[in-house]
Symmetry: C2
Subunit: 185 residues, 2 copies
DNA sequence: GCTTGCATGTAAGCGGTTACATGATTTT
DNA sequence: AAAATCATGTAACCGCTTACATGCAAGC
């Protein structure tokens, strides 16, 4: 379980409210870890109770007040301990692969549109990642020298880009295979 | 939720017991969908109750009896319906990426050994996949002509291979980045 | 004698998803 | 007038993980 740790990292990068965290989990952090706001609020409350994070009530004009969370010393210690702990390499969970193997017992051609939908989605994500990379790291408005945090964010983003490119190439392969199986057999 | 569907696919490919299914989920199917035997037994019971699958008691000598499950007509219908339903492209959940971003607030160099461990694991998996590909699809003992089911299994396996190769290349990138950050800063 | 493999389960707990709820302000 | 944004929550459910449990046979 690493939602707590993902939140700690995100709060270290930038303190913020539960709502703001939820938005980040739809963007940068969410590229490799997802969470809904309900989850985030519950975990924030527990982390606050455990003294991992501090809260500060921030009044705002023309907007509801918000609670700004920031990482406390015990939270940093928890994160550091976790960073030094080995974790198991992820096992993939790929629903589409189940579908593809299932297509052998149905009409393979029926999957073509589904695969094309996934191509579109991954292609959109790739474009989004590349735009973010240009904006923050490689474009003309990016900082000339990056600090350690930025370098690490960049290498994670490169991982996302590589993943999407690999997936798109594989989906091409899948489509070609489905087309080969479709008409003649 | 697709465990039921993964089980249906696996039982269509080859009927078998809960125990056998659990072993397959450690191998072929498990490359892209994991499940423990406890989960599998529970779901099998429910699927049997719903009439999706049939059971046959198989006595064995020198071994405990087993229940061999096979897909019934309603199960095929359920699978077919699912195959025609669109699914959302997976969102990745990559704990290591959280750790890498977290390393900005700790000692980046401490992550190097962890990344090397992951390299080893992914390298092993890749070797395993490639051996399976040679055995079943490209080697001298593989069938000359593949049927649709085998073609689809092969394209899924190619996806696993591409994933591991991409991951290994990315982990090299991560290591290089950590080494760059480590000594001087 | 110990471990591994075959075979099937129960029980507890928890993380995560989905649905529901509220309320003000800004934009369309 | 309606929809979207900001902001925080409660409640129910369910899938999944972990731990515990049993029992026999074969191999080291």
């Amino acid at each position: 379980m690493a939602l707590e740790h993902a939140i700690l990292v995100s709060l270290l990068e930038q303190p913020g409210s539960g709502y703001e965290l939820a938005r980040r989990f739809d963007r940068s952090i969410g590229y490799f870890w997802t969470a809904t706001h309900q989850q985030i609020y519950r975990v924030l409350k527990r982390m606050e109770g455990d003294g991992w994070i501090d809260v500060r009530e921030v009044p705002q004009q023309a907007r509801p007040d918000k609670k700004e969370y920031s990482v406390a010393a015990p939270g940093r210690a928890v994160l550091s301990a976790w960073l030094h702990e080995p974790i198991e390499p992820e096992s993939v969970r790929h629903e589409l692969a189940v579908k593809i193997r299932g297509a052998a017992f149905d009409d393979p051609a029926a999957l073509i549109r589904e695969v094309e939908r996934h191509q579109q989605a991954h292609s959109d994500r790739l474009a989004h990642y590349l735009a973010g990379e240009r904006r923050d790291f490689t474009g003309p408005e990016a900082p000339a020298a990056l600090d350690a945090g930025q370098e690490l964010q960049h290498v994670v983003l490169r991982g996302g880009i590589a993943y999407e490119q690999m997936t798109l190439a594989w989906l091409d392969d899948v489509l070609a295979t489905l087309h080969r199986l479709g008409p003649e057999r």
